[in-house]
Each structure stands twice: as structure tokens, then as C-alpha cells.
């Protein structure tokens, strides 16, 4: 199901921060996990993901480093910063409250 852009705009950052919480990851890896773990709902192309990552980095929520892999590729890895962790906690609370509110309104269905 294609999610509308406005909803993705709100969900995307939270999803990426959540995926970076346990470990650092690289771009393609994030694309794969987002698609797989959300059953395709939060699938996003590079044109969306990389700008999102750069934005999160500009806000100081994530940080990056480049590592040369065994195959010679200079892969950029992203990790959550302390500020990012705190933001993730805020996102989580907001999403919980939003979900409860939508449920009460009947938006989430029976």
C-alpha cells in the first residue's frame, strides 16, 4: 500500500532512527530492512532515503563514518547519536499517543 507523502514524512525519520538504535547500518541495508520489516509499507527509494539520512545527520540525530570494506568499497555507516536516542524516545511516545487517539476516533477500525 502506498503511503501518502505527508504520512511518510512523519513516519520515515522515526523508522530510520528506530532501525539505527541497535546497530549502525549503511544505506542499502536500511532500504532492505525498511521494506522487509514493514511489509513494504515503509519501502522508500534512494531519492527519499538518502536525503532523509542527510537531514537527520544535519540535525545531529545521526552520525556517519566511512569504512573501506573487504571488497574495496568505501561504505558509509550511520549510527544513532545521543540526541538521536532522545528524539527516538519522543517519537515513540508521540506515535503511541497518536495511535491511541486514532483508535478512540475509530480511524484504526474495529
Amino acid at each position: 500500500m502506498k503511503i501518502e507523502r505527508e504520512l511518510m514524512r512523519g513516519a520515515g525519520p522515526a523508522a530510520v532512527l528506530r532501525l539505527l538504535a541497535p546497530a549502525e547500518r549503511y544505506g542499502y541495508e536500511l532500504v532492505q530492512i525498511l521494506e522487509k520489516q514493514s511489509d513494504g509499507v515503509l519501502a522508500m527509494g534512494q531519492s527519499t532515503l538518502y536525503p532523509l539520512l542527510y537531514n537527520l545527520e544535519a540535525k545531529g540525530l545521526i552520525a556517519s563514518r566511512v569504512e573501506t570494506a573487504d571488497n574495496g568499497r568505501d561504505r558509509k555507516y550511520y549510527r544513532l547519536t545521543g540526541r538521536g536516542k532522545r528524539q527516538l524516545v519522543r517519537y515513540r511516545k508521540q506515535w503511541e499517543q497518536l495511535t491511541i487517539a486514532m483508535g478512540k476516533l475509530g480511524v484504526l477500525g474495529a
Binding site: 549503511y26 542499502y28 541495508e29 532500504v31 527509494g45 531519492s47 538518502y50 536525503p51 568505501d74 558509509k76
Partner: protein
């Protein structure tokens, strides 16, 4: 495309350059070309990176990451077409990547970008204002010279005094182009300063030889109106009298501040005044009191003619000078040769002295309003609603006007430089008051000044607008904004003081006349000035400084009439010392630093130096 050295340097990190290693590491195209991707993928990556328009190092970073992403996709058995499809819109991607990367730049860069945008906006605004300033044209709609001339020309020719004055002046050798004319030597000789090549006897002979012309002057003073027509086709076009000024282009009214161009006759009246004064003195020596009286009366009448001629303040100032000279001669004659002045004559002279009591009797600002409006219409545009903005053309005209006559060509040239106008114009245009603001402030100021002139100086209160102008004089920005009005106010603030001095001197001489008449009737001066009222004086004049009655003591048996002076300290009639020189009639007021001097202001008679 192979890298040349310069290209390689441009794509090398600065650190490498410092270490003299020209690595060309930032060549993002090479990163993409070297990747083992098919050409379609490379093309997409190149397109995205190019469209980001980021810095070289940022593009390098993005290119490297996107290459790795496509390689990872290939490793996951995703076809190039599928990877490209999943990439998304190239343009949108480039735009979003750019936005995010720019956001990630340093605070300093963002501050500089913000400042740069502000500066760019200001520059654009400045250029727009400069263009508006340069292309703006003043709209000169009103011919104020014609307006002033309307009342002058309405007087029949045979009632205008100027033709008679003019003929007498020419006959006596007054000529603007001859500053060394004989009449000036005559006056210097009669002054006794020793700066003339003429003897006193020679000067006296000159006066007698010119008696018919002086009689013509006296006859001219009897006419009701001066009749000097201003402007291009007016009385100034008289080469015989005004020399080179007669053939100069006629200036607009605003050049009236430079009286020699629009009012060239005023200088001649100032000279004529002294000729009449000297002839009045000679008349007393000749025991011709009738001629003395006619000379003094002609000075009073000339003063009235000039005052009502065109209502310029400068004409009023010259008129005041004539009146002051007349009063001084009466006072001097009363002191030195009272026996030559009959009581009837003194009565007539007293009437002429007493016909002015307030500054508003001596000055009016009507033509100053015209002068100002002429300046405004030549400086500003006119939007039809009484408002407008300053123009380069207008300022150029104003600068030309005031630079005219300057010997410094460089100053004139720089003032008129249009490039300076373009650069400085917007500041002047925005910083200066609008047409409406300037006009409103000026009208408020003139209204207040006209009201003030109706009161003695001691009772005149500074109006709100005058207080405002006082604060403007202390503020550089307000000085620029209202410079025309602030400069004008400095001149005008002295008008009332000048009038007060003439009026006070007149009152002093009036009391002197009354004392003389009393003495003739009673054999001695009165014990107190109250005894002069009402037969010899309608009322005792008040001291123009402190409002008390003028003081009238007797010193060495002779009465003096004095004011306490601007130090407001009663020195019992002691004038400020002047090292044995004649005391100027303004003594007792202020020094050349505008501070009140210590001493009283002797109004009658002319004082000698205090012991």
C-alpha cells in the same frame, strides 16, 4: 576527459595541496566512472550528483555513497532497471539531497549566506532607490518671482520710488562693477578711518556737489512704494547700475538667499544710507535743521519702502539698518546739538520712531514662505497630493546655486558629479524628509515664528516646533533629514533679536526726546521718568530684557536711559568697557561668543567708555 593539472588541483583536497600532493581525489566523476556498474546506472548517478550543484567535496561524498548503493543492489541480484526504478525521481532526489547537504554546512557558512542575501537585497533596493533618485524630476509649477512681482507691478509707475533712486545712484557713481567707486572713498573719508585717498574736505565737497541728487533721493522716499521689479525682465537688468549682474542669467527665487543676484539694489541702499547719514550730519554743521530732518525722515521712509517692497527677510534686515541709522542720528543730534532741533521737529521725529513697537512691525515672513516653496518645488517631485521625493536634479541645482561664485572649481565639479549623486542619492532620498514632511514642518515653524514676533522677546515662548528643531540640531540623522529647515531656523532665530535691538534703541531715543522737551519746558530734567507721562510720552517703555521700566538715572547731571542688558544685572548705567573706543550700540548684550556681557545696555545717549 583526462585531467589537466589545473583541473586536478581543483579536485584536490586543500590538505593535500598544502602537502603538495596533487591527488585530484575529489573527482566525483572518476569515482563513478571507475565503479563497476553499467553505463545506465552511472548515468543516473552522474545526473543526480550534477544536479545537486553542491560543493565538490559534497558531490564526491554523495557520488561515492550512491555508487556503493547501486553496487550493493547489484550484489543483491537487483537488476539495474529495477534499481533505477526504485531510486525515484532524479530531479527530486537531487533537490532533496542538496537541501539536506546544505543544511549540514557549518553555522558560519549559514551566517554568511544569510548576510549575503541581506546584502544582496539591500544592494537591489539601493539600486532601485538610486534609479528613482536619478530619474526623478522636480516639477516647477509656480513662478514665485511673478507672484511677488504682481503686487509690485500693480503700483502705477509714477508712484514707484525706484526710478528716482536709480537715477540718483547712477549720478552719484554707484556701480556694482566698480567697487572702487568714488562714493566709497567719500564714505571712508567721512568715517575718519584714514583708509581713503580722499580728504575730509574733499568728501564734504562731494556731498555738496551731489546735493541735487540727494534731494532726488529724499523725493523718492516720499513715494508710497519702492517698485523694484524682481527677476529676468526686472529692475536688475540695469547694466549702468549693476554692472555684470545685469547680464547674468536670472536666478530662480531660491537664489534670493544670495541677495546680490536677485536683490542687487540692497547693497546700494546700504551705501545710500551712509551717504544720507553723512549729509544729515553735514546739515547740522551747516545749521540746516530742515535738511537734517528731511534726511532722517527719508531714512525712515526708505526703511518702510524696503520693508514692504518684496517681504524678503533680507530686505527687512536692510530696512532695519536704515531705521536704526535714522534713530541713531536723532539720538546723536539730540545729544550733541539739541539746540538745532526744534521742539516741533522733535515731535515729528518721535512719531516716526514710535510707529513700530513689535518685531512684527519690522519683519514679515510672507516671502520666506515663497522662497521655501520655490526651493521645495525645485528639489522634490510632485505626486499631485502635496508629497514627493528628493531628486538628483534638484540637489544638483541647489548645489550649483550655493557653489556659484566659489573659486574652487574642483569643489563645484565634485558636487555636480552624477556618480556621486547615484551613490549618495538613495541615502539622501531615504534619509531626507519627504516633501510633505518638510513642508508641514516649515509651515509649522513659520506660523510659530510669526506668532512670536507679535510679542516682546522677553515674553515670547519657544514653540513646540522650535524645541523640536533644537533637538534636531543635536542629532546628525535629523540634521540630514531636515537640513534645509534647520539651516533656515538659525537665520530666523536671530530676526527677533535684531528687531528688539532696533526697537529698544528707538524707545531709548524717544525717552531722550521726551527728556529734552521736558527740560525745555521746565528748565531741568525731571526727577523721575514718571513725570514724562503723558505729556511727553504716552507711556514709559519697559526694559525689553526684564520687563521693568527703563532705568533713568543722571550721571554728571546728564540723563541716561538704559536697560540692564542680557546679563540681567543692574550696573546703574555702566556700559561694558571698550578700551576707550566708541561703545557700539549693541554693547550690553552679548559678546562674540554669544555670552551676555557684564554691563548695561545704554539706549540713550551714545555712551562713552566707562572710567
Amino acid at each position: 576527459m583526462p585531467d589537466n593539472t589545473l583541473s586536478k588541483i581543483r579536485q584536490t583536497l586543500q590538505g593535500d595541496i598544502v602537502l603538495t600532493r596533487n591527488t585530484g581525489r575529489l573527482n566525483w566523476r572518476r569515482v563513478i566512472d571507475k565503479a563497476s556498474l553499467d553505463e545506465l546506472a552511472k548515468a543516473v548517478i552522474k545526473k543526480v550528483v550534477r544536479k545537486t550543484r553542491l560543493w565538490r567535496i559534497e558531490r564526491y561524498d554523495v557520488a561515492r555513497e550512491l555508487v556503493v548503493h547501486f553496487l550493493d543492489a547489484r550484489d543483491a541480484d537487483v537488476s539495474t532497471e529495477r534499481a533505477i526504478e526504485r531510486f525515484g525521481d532524479v530531479r527530486q532526489a537531487a533537490k532533496l539531497i542538496r537541501r539536506a547537504k546544505v543544511r549540514n554546512r557549518s553555522s558560519l557558512w549559514h551566517a554568511m549566506r544569510f548576510t549575503g542575501r541581506i546584502v544582496a537585497v539591500l544592494i537591489v533596493l539601493y539600486v532601485i532607490l538610486a534609479i528613482r533618485f536619478v530619474i526623478g524630476q522636480p516639477d516647477v509649477k509656480v513662478d514665485y518671482v511673478a507672484r511677488i512681482n504682481a503686487s509690485i507691478k500693480a503700483v502705477p509707475l509714477d508712484q514707484r520710488a525706484w526710478p528716482l533712486y536709480r537715477d540718483a545712484m547712477v549720478a552719484m557713481g554707484f556701480n556694482e562693477s566698480e567697487p572702487d567707486a568714488l562714493v566709497y572713498h567719500v564714505l571712508k573719508a567721512l568715517e575718519g578711518t584714514g583708509k581713503s585717498g580722499m580728504s575730509r574736505a574733499g568728501a564734504t565737497k562731494w556731498l555738496r556737489d551731489n546735493a541735487p541728487h540727494l534731494e532726488q533721493v529724499r523725493k523718492a522716499s516720499q513715494r508710497p512704494s519702492l517698485g523694484f521689479v524682481l527677476g529676468d525682465s526686472g529692475s536688475m537688468r540695469d547694466g549702468q547700475l549693476f554692472g555684470s549682474i545685469a547680464s547674468s542669467p536670472a536666478p530662480p527665487v531660491m537664489a534670493g538667499v544670495i541677495k546680490s543676484e536677485l536683490l542687487p539694489h540692497l547693497n546700494h541702499f546700504s551705501t545710500l544710507k551712509w551717504v544720507i547719514v553723512e549729509d544729515a550730519r553735514l546739515a547740522l554743521e551747516d545749521t540746516d535743521p530742515d535738511r537734517f530732518e528731511r534726511n532722517v525722515t527719508s531714512l525712515f521712509r526708505m526703511s518702510e519702502q524696503l520693508r514692504h517692497a518684496d517681504d524678503f527677510l533680507i530686505s527687512g534686515m536692510v530696512a532695519c539698518g536704515l531705521r536704526s541709522a535714522a534713530i541713531a542720528e536723532v539720538g546723536n543730534a539730540l545729544q550733541a546739538r539739541p539746540e538745532k532741533l526744534s521742539s516741533a521737529m522733535l515731535g515729528r521725529l518721535e512719531k516716526q520712531i514710535s510707529n513700530a513697537r513689535l518685531a512684527s512691525d519690522l519683519f514679515t515672513f510672507q516671502t520666506e514662505r515663497f522662497l521655501f516653496m520655490d526651493v521645495i518645488q525645485r528639489l522634490y517631485t510632485d505626486d499631485g497630493n502635496g508629497d514627493g521625493r528628493l531628486t538628483a536634479r534638484g540637489l544638483e541645482g541647489l548645489q550649483t546655486m550655493f557653489a556659484r561664485g566659489s573659486d574652487n572649481r574642483d569643489i563645484r565639479t565634485s558636487l555636480l558629479d552624477s556618480s556621486i549623486a547615484f551613490v549618495g542619492g538613495p541615502v539622501v532620498m531615504v534619509g531626507g524628509a519627504s516633501r510633505r514632511e518638510m513642508t508641514d514642518a516649515f509651515n509649522a515653524y513659520i506660523d510659530a515664528m510669526e506668532q512670536r514676533l507679535k510679542y516682546p522677546l522677553r515674553d515670547a515662548k519657544r514653540s513646540a516646533i522650535e524645541q523640536k528643531i533644537d533637538t534636531w540640531q543635536k542629532s546628525p540623522t535629523m540634521m540630514i533629514r531636515y537640513s534645509i529647515l534647520v539651516n533656515l531656523s538659525v537665520t530666523m532665530s536671530n530676526i527677533q533679536r535684531s528687531a528688539e535691538r532696533v526697537l529698544a534703541k528707538g524707545e531709548g531715543v524717544e525717552v531722550g526726546i521726551a527728556l529734552e522737551l521736558y527740560k525745555r519746558d521746565h528748565g531741568s530734567y525731571p526727577a523721575s521718568a514718571d513725570l514724562l507721562v503723558p505729556k511727553y510720552l504716552k507711556e514709559l517703555p519697559a526694559d525689553r530684557v526684564d520687563g521693568a521700566a527703563l532705568r533713568y538715572p543722571r550721571i554728571d547731571g546728564k540723563p541716561i536711559v538704559y536697560s540692564v542688558g542680557e546679563d540681567r544685572d543692574d550696573d546703574t548705567g555702566r556700559a561694558p568697557p571698550n578700551n576707550g573706543n566708541p561703545i557700539p550700540w549693541k554693547a550690553g548684550l552679548r559678546d562674540n561668543k554669544d555670552k551676555p556681557v557684564d554691563g548695561d545696555w545704554i539706549l540713550y545717549p551714545t555712551p562713552t567708555d566707562a572710567p
